[in-house]
Amino acid sequence: MHIVVCIKQVPDSAQIRVHPVTNTIMRQGVPTIINPYDLFALEEALRLRDKFGGEVTVLTMGPPTAEDSLRKALTIGANRAVLLTDRFFAGSDTLATSYALAAAIRKIGSTFGAVDVVFTGKQTIDGDTAQVGPGICKRLDFLQLTYVSKVSSLDLEARTIEVERRSEGGVQVLRSNLPCLITMLEGTNQVRRGSMINALNAARAEVVKWSAQDAGVEDIQKCGLRGSPTVVKRVFAPTPRAEKAKVVEAAGQPPAEALIDEIFKLRPKLENEMFELARGF
């Protein structure tokens, strides 16, 4: 069995600051990590490999420095790493990204063995769109299983897979076919730590580096800015609210009482509504 896990190197959490004067983003010195949701995807892929045999290939598209994330994934236990890197990819939106990644996955299939399952995280913590997974899936014409909390069974003979998938009001238990693309939910499995042996191997391992041409990208016009139908026109900081909060002064009475008075003074209707609500409990 051959599984491909798409990962993304993202800036670590809230450490991005906005320059107070120029309104530009200050990214210097912000450490990078593997997008946390992608780690759950990697873990689920490794579990399937441990159970059914085969290989896990991790794939990322990004600048040359994204190699760090791939080595981390090798340390955790992936068998092979592919870095798709080319200046033609710069400025890709989700449609252009899915085009490039799908091309690379096809090439991975023809080079290292047919791909049965592609995993991604449910979304990235920097872009937050949840669009790249479905995008890759449609490009490859695979079956799409998003927001999966668990792969419950897999039958390589029959080429079927069963998953639990979150929907708005509950959990769908689905049976589908291979090849498929799965996007994984957060916190559904405990992500393993890398082993010493893996770390040593990862340090020595070769990371496969592909340009657009190496990956067999057919139409460079569909990559990067040129291939992106969406265009960012303006970036700006949210406008601050005109007035600061009114500070509640507890003149002689307990602060809790003073606060309630202020609330009901500002929103007289709330008092009645609250009564109705509270009665309902």
Partner: protein, 368 residues
Amino acid sequence: MSQPAKPAPQPAGRAAAKKELPEHFKAYKHVWVFIEQERGHVHPVSWELMGSGRRLADKLGVELAAVVIGPTGEATRAAVAESFCYGADLAYVVADDVLTDYRNESYTKALTDLVNTHKPEILLLGATTLGRDLAGAVATTLLTGLTADCTELEVDADNSLAATRPTFGGSLLCTIYTLNFRPQMATVRPRVMSMPERVEKPVGRVIEFPLGLVEADIVTKILAFVPDRDKATSNLAYADIVVAGGLGLASPENFQLVRQLAGVLGAEYGCSRPLVQKGWVSADRQIGQTGKTIRPKLYIAAGISGAIQHRVGVDGSDLIVAINTDKNAPIFDFAHLALVTDAIRLLPALTEAFRKRLSAHTRDRIAS
């Protein structure tokens, strides 16, 4: 370390001038809203989107259409009728029992075929699990642009859709255009747009559309559906009163104080992200950019600093009350009422005071 001052952010190349729309896209007109149904219920985000859709359609001087995809029968008919009450001029309906439960294959086919036949200029969907699953697939199949999780939708002077969304973890906003492709697609999270007024309107045009699939054509099968047991958990986004706690509460035990106040008020409770990361509170209670967006009449935030990622989830609240020991906490920049004090001490007193008030209220009402 000082940051070299850069000119105002004009991302290179991206802000390319608008070109003439390719000829074959000029037939694309009208604004569509996907009406999300699950197991007989329309997700309220669909009506919220109808409010925005109506505004956009009026500005463009075009029609607003609801897209209703689902099984044959009463629930789908009701969704269509309801869409007229929320402002639809017409409804495109794909009704087939194969569409009883959401599956990507069947819904993607229905929506892509509809778009290719009837050509909308703008297509809006809720950024729910269903909406995101569908929107990503449909946009890629149509090879058009899709902007996720928008917080504002406008039509600019050139009649293009200007979709604004948070970027860089919520620290900034950006406005995105889909220039030379149609339809222009966007998703919006529940509760980001306000609910439009419902107006009794019994009729509108209905255009039925065939699915063109039978069950045997669909690979993915639904083996079971397990509805969420805890109904209350999914209610946070739609609660009228929300009480939330942050890291300032210092321990999971103190978080009980938030639950107790919420209990007395008949409110929902929520939290900031670190509490979820620490495992004090479950993930579906997180409020903010990567959690839920709320729009309550009253929001009480105790021990929450008010980081931008939290703020974007609560900005639509009618009255924001912040309790924080630090008078310079960023939350006071967007709260309406501020109490600069220790929340761990205040919360029990507040719970007690509310309890008294509300029971006094009961007495008054019984007496009168």
